[in-house]
Amino acid sequence: MTAVVAAVGISRRYGPVTALAELSLAVAPGQILGVTGPSGVGKSTLLRLLAGLERPDTGHVAYAGEPAWAGRGVRYPRPGYVMPVFQNPTASLNPRWPIWRSLTEPLTAPGRERPGRARRRHLAAEWLARAHLDHIDPDTRPGALSGGQCQRVAVLRALVARPALIVADEPTARQDVITAAATSQLIAAATAAGTAAAVVVSHDRAWLAGLAHQIVDLA
């Protein structure tokens, strides 16, 4: 089976600092790969490289067997192939947009038919209900939500894109146990269908062990 994402010998330097050195990994469809390790070993850098947000200095990243960096910019097999979820949920949602707009933004990707405003609100409410988040009003803005709520909205937005790969950077940082469990449930449910894979970074080994099929320790 072709790996959803494969990295071969990737490394990244920021000036004199080597953030990540010579790492190789592959993630199969439906698989959740946990990444852990102490601060500063390049966990977040690895995720940004896997997500195609940054170009590795050495090595290659491939999506579904195709090189990600063939030309000048990153090339995804399709829009929304990789969806990132970041540590800070309030920054990863546009503070000026109501939740419905952020949630359904992946649906406006080029090449897809663009649903209208009323349709998008409706779809957002449906997705929220499916994730048992129907207590969140689609018309609120991120500022009116808690960090945990924002994070689940951010995970949900990643799912709306129907991604082949979800990369999540410390998605449960600053969350209590119950909220963290709800967040990991969302990720697990998305991969259970076998359509999506996930790479999840966390320094919480116990939480990661309950979610991931395999854990890489960068230490």
Partner: protein, 319 residues
């Protein structure tokens, strides 16, 4: 959150109070111009009215008429009350009310300022978007060189060069500047050059700061183009700040207007104020300064209110 947020109504009232205080402080300074200036205003006004050797009685009468009797506080009070009614005194040169002289020239200056702000804002927007779309690459570098150049060359030099080129090349003796819309382009572009350069730098920085947010990364991952991320995610964030900077820049435009108007012989209040300075026509200078202060306070007040209204996060708190 350590500081309690003011309610929008109270914040608005406080801002209004600040504007009034600024206006009042400015009026004291402008009034002091006249109070501290050497010479006797009553005598100057009489001379302007062709009374070359006024008698002591005539001077006394004029002084009473101009409200120049009593202590400084009373004189300031009378002057302020007059200014509030639009009475800015009479020109020492022509003997005509300053209000009429300024009023006659105001439309030309408003045309020039409006054209300059519009031109400058559009140019700054275009330059900043171009630069922020490709940070570190050649469009960014070109925008930086262009704006630095525009910032360091003074407006009157640009104006003189432009005039020279236009007059030399277009020997058809067409009117270059007469205060109408048809001729506003060259002086407005000259006036807008430096502010637009500064605005574009600020906007570029804010656009790139907004690009560092997670939601921009997410948008790009799901296939958004650079342009889409710029216009939908980054620009709305940077726009509030841009609006404030442009609003504050109107002050720079007001400051540059006298020079540009004089170079182009644009028949506005700026050129009139320069003429007033040259002929030591203090009421004219006072009137211009007061008008400029009032315009600046009014613009910055409306910019602040507009910025608050534009920010949905403020609206959120209100709900």
């Amino acid at each position: 959150m350590g500081r309690r947020l003011l309610s929008p109504a109270r914040a608005g009232l406080r801002r209004l109070g600040q504007a009034a205080a600024t206006l009042l402080a400015g009026s004291v300074l402008v009034w002091a111009l006249l109070a501290l200036a050497p010479g006797d205003p009553a005598r100057r006004v009489l001379e302007a009215g062709n009374v070359t050797n006024p008698t002591a009685a005539q001077v006394e009468a004029k002084r009473a008429e101009l409200g120049l009797t009593g202590g400084p506080a009373r004189r300031y009070g009378r002057w302020l009350a007059g200014a509030a009614r639009g009475d800015l005194g009479v020109s020492w040169v022509t003997g005509r009310p300053v209000r009429d002289e300024l009023g006659r020239r105001l439309p030309a200056t408003l045309r020039l300022a409006a054209a300059a702000v519009g031109l400058g804002a559009v140019a700054a927007l275009a330059l900043a978007l171009l630069a922020a779309a490709a940070p570190g690459r050649w469009p960014d570098t070109a925008a930086r060189v262009l704006s630095t150049g525009a910032l360091v060359v003074p407006g009157f030099v640009v104006g003189l060069v432009v005039l020279h080129v236009v007059v030399l090349r277009g020997a058809d003796l067409r009117v270059i500047a007469d205060g109408r819309w048809a001729t506003v382009l060259l002086p407005a572009a000259t006036l807008a050059l430096a502010p637009a350069a500064a605005w574009s730098r600020v906007l570029r920085a804010d656009l790139l700061r907004a690009a560092g947010s997670g939601h921009v990364d997410v948008a790009r991952a799901r296939g958004a183009s650079t342009w889409w991320a710029l216009t939908r995610h980054q620009l709305p964030h940077a726009l509030v700040q841009f609006l404030t900077v442009v609003g504050t820049g109107v002050a720079a435009l007001l400051g540059g207007a006298p020079v540009v108007e004089t170079v182009y012989t644009w028949p506005g209040i700026g050129a009139y104020a320069v003429a007033g300075i040259a002929s030591r026509d203090l009421p004219v200078v006072q009137g211009y300064a007061l008008l400029a202060i009032a315009a600046y306070v009014a613009v910055s007040l409306s910019v602040d209110l507009a910025a608050a209204a534009l920010d949905p996060r403020v609206a959120e708190r209100r709900r």
